[in-house]
């Protein structure tokens, strides 16, 4: 073991790693234009929902019966009415932005909470095994078997409908999903030879589960979480549509769809715009989830490999072909 002890470590190598790890994702994102577009769309929606609402809260709630069902795509009544107005003459564009904030906040908090809880319980369950595992999974089964909409209906009927309660209900109904995925993935990864190898070198069990197994469970959970953003937005929209999600003055996209339902034949825009907003957000989240899964797995990052440079000058290749034939 005398070799290499005194060898100076090149600085380039020491610096190489953190930078590449940090920028790797962004670099890869640039190479898949469709995903990049979706990421930008999602970022714009999120930024708008985050920044704009405080400035337009009053204007969005402004009822103006003279402007009820103003048609979209006209600037006659100002930019706020670009997407028309609803039954009470409220500007659709501003309502959509207010709704974006609520919808995204509900979706993100529900997904993050349910994800973290399910992830932790799922891995714990797989790690402990035995009757604890069985009990936890049966609970998950029970929550999963009851139709989530029905369960949410029941809970929200008892509790007061509010943003907080809506989030709690969504967390409750969506957690089993992550529990199962995290547990299944942990059990699968745990069988890997590298886990045995880690034990053979003397790693602690807690270290193996947190340091060796967890990184392989995380991408799966992230993928599921991104998918779930779409599902949760839709579920929240559904609950609001049914009238037990939110109450005015809170507004989200599902509620807007519900409000417009009665006027579908005369004023389509009241229903369609919030519907389109849900679809675009859900789609973007789905595409991003697919991409996240691929880049979190080092063995799959070749999918985002740099394209080969243009072919070398023709003579060599034709010469090769000639010699082959």
């Amino acid at each position: 073991m005398s070799t290499g002890k005194d060898a100076p470590m090149p600085n380039a190598i020491a610096r190489h790693r953190p930078a590449s790890a940090r920028w790797r994702r962004l670099r890869l994102l640039r190479r898949s234009p469709f995903t990049a577009t979706m990421a930008i769309v999602l970022a714009i929606i999120a930024l708008t929902a985050l920044v704009v609402p405080p400035f337009i809260a009053d204007a969005a709630e402004q009822q103006n019966l003279a402007l009820r069902f103003v048609e979209p795509f006209s600037l006659d009544h100002g930019i706020a009415y670009l997407l028309g107005a609803d039954a009470l003459g409220r500007p659709m564009l501003l309502q959509l932005v207010m709704g974006a904030r609520t919808s995204l906040m509900i979706a993100v908090s529900a997904v993050v909470l349910a994800g973290l809880i399910g992830y932790a319980i799922g891995m714990f369950s797989a790690y402990v095994g035995g009757w604890v595992d069985a009990a936890l999974m049966r609970i998950a089964d029970i929550i999963h078997t009851v139709p989530s909409l029905l369960l949410a209906l029941a809970i929200l009927y008892v509790l007061q409908p509010s943003v907080t309660n809506l989030i709690l209900v969504l967390v409750f109904t969506r957690t089993p999903m992550y529990m199962r995925v995290a547990r299944a993935r942990t059990l699968e990864v745990r069988e890997g030879v590298f886990v045995e190898a880690a034990r053979a070198i003397g790693s602690r069990r807690s270290r193996i589960i947190l340091h060796d197994i967890r990184p392989l469970v995380t991408p799966t959970i992230l993928t599921v979480a991104m998918l779930e953003i779409a599902t949760v937005i839709l579920t929240a929209a559904g609950l609001s549509f049914l009238g037990i999600g939110l109450q005015r003055p809170d507004v989200d996209w599902g509620m807007m769809v519900a409000d417009g339902r009665g006027y579908l034949s005369s004023a389509w825009w009241v229903t369609v715009f919030p519907g389109v907003a849900v679809v675009i957000t859900a789609l973007a989240a789905n595409v991003l989830s697919n991409w996240l899964r691929a880049i979190e797995d080092p063995t799959q990052s070749h999918l985002f490999a740099k394209p080969l440079p243009a072919e070398a000058p023709a003579p060599t290749s034709s010469a090769n072909l000639g010699s082959l034939s």
Partner: protein, 334 residues
């Protein structure tokens, strides 16, 4: 085993009357049945056997890597300390430092999400308390030691960016990182191309010479075993059926199974007619054969073999065999 062989020196690893019993739907299955093995410091022992002979299980048992639902009896002593029944903390202290292991599948035995360097450095930091920069330096030295070129760059690569042979070298580097006294290599070249096998074998041999560690080489390939091992223990159906210096066992086997194993190896034959596969199927673990477990496939079996299980007896100094007719087989009379 010859009683005078190792009395002068306490064996480094002493496996005595080891049995390993797995639970199964058909009841208990005994994968290892009364194995005795001794390994002295710096020695190199090959455990040779077909799949299902219990050779890998024996290796894993020495590290306490057998699940909790599996029953272990007998004794495994490492430097005099009992491993069978030891608690997880003591086993953990032993693993890597006392005994380390290299597995067959080199791709699966490295964590795919960490770079090779960070996995190596982690071992050194956690187990040896090295600082970040010391661990880095030592990891580079280790990779260099196992013959990986430009280790400073390779450190930053993920396991899937290595070829099979290189990956196995990385696995070996990880196994020797804590300077173990015993290295158990469980079919380390089986999954590799023939062209790189020799390199790995030579590396193991060289490392053993450099570090003075003992080597247990688990394999089904006799020719591979001959390249690395001084002694061989031939296993069949969970038992050791013959032990001895590997060249002598190879030249003059004292057990019909060892002999059959040598005659069934493709490289021993120059034409099809010289190749003699062992008739019948390998032993079934759930069906217990009365008498000698090899007798249904044995060309020289007699009625005695079907009723009486032969004990392990010395046939020559340093050699023993579990066959009623060991001496005749040795002399080539049967």
């Amino acid at each position: 085993m010859n009683p005078t062989a190792s009395l002068d020196q306490q064996p480094l690893l002493d496996i005595a009357n080891l049995t390993v019993t797995f639970p199964s739907e058909h009841g208990p299955v005994r994968a290892v049945r009364g194995v005795n093995l001794r390994l002295r410091g710096g020695e190199s022992l090959a455990i040779l056997g077909e799949s299902g002979s219990g050779k890998s299980v024996t290796g894993k048992a020495a590290l306490g890597l057998i699940g909790s639902r599996v029953r272990l009896t007998g004794s495994i002593r490492f430097e005099g300390d009992e491993i069978v029944g030891a608690d997880e903390n003591r086993l953990r202290a032993l693993r890597g430092r006392g005994i380390a292991m290299v597995f067959q599948d080199s791709l699966d035995s490295l964590n795919p999400v960490y770079t090779v360097g960070s996995q190596l450095e982690e071992i050194l930091r956690v187990r040896m308390g090295r600082s970040r920069s010391d661990a880095r330096r030592e990891a580079i030295a280790l990779l260099e030691q196992v013959g990986i070129t430009s280790p400073e760059t390779r450190l930053h690569h993920y396991p899937h960016q290595f070829s099979g042979g290189m990956r196995q070298r990385v696995c070996i580097a990880m196994a020797i990182a804590l300077r173990p006294r015993v290295l158990i290599a469980d079919e380390p070249t089986t999954a590799l191309d023939v062209t790189v096998q020799a390199g790995i074998l030579r590396l193991l041999k060289r490392l053993q010479r450099e570090t003075g560690m003992a080597l247990i080489f688990v394999t089904h390939d006799l020719n591979v075993a001959r390249l690395v091992a001084d002694r061989v223990a031939v296993m069949y159906a969970g038992r050791v059926v013959e032990t001895g210096p590997i060249d002598e066992v190879y030249r003059r086997p004292a057990h019909p199974y060892s002999r059959a194993l040598m005659h069934s190896h493709p490289s021993a034959a120059t034409s099809w007619s010289e190749l003699h596969p062992i008739p019948g199927n390998g032993p079934s673990k759930s069906v217990v054969v009365a008498g000698c477990s090899f007798h249904p496939r044995c060309p020289v079996a007699t009625e005695r073999c079907a009723s009486e299980d032969p004990p392990m007896l010395a046939v020559e100094p340093g050699r023993s065999s579990a066959c009623h007719y060991a001496e005749e087989v040795l002399r080539g009379e049967r």
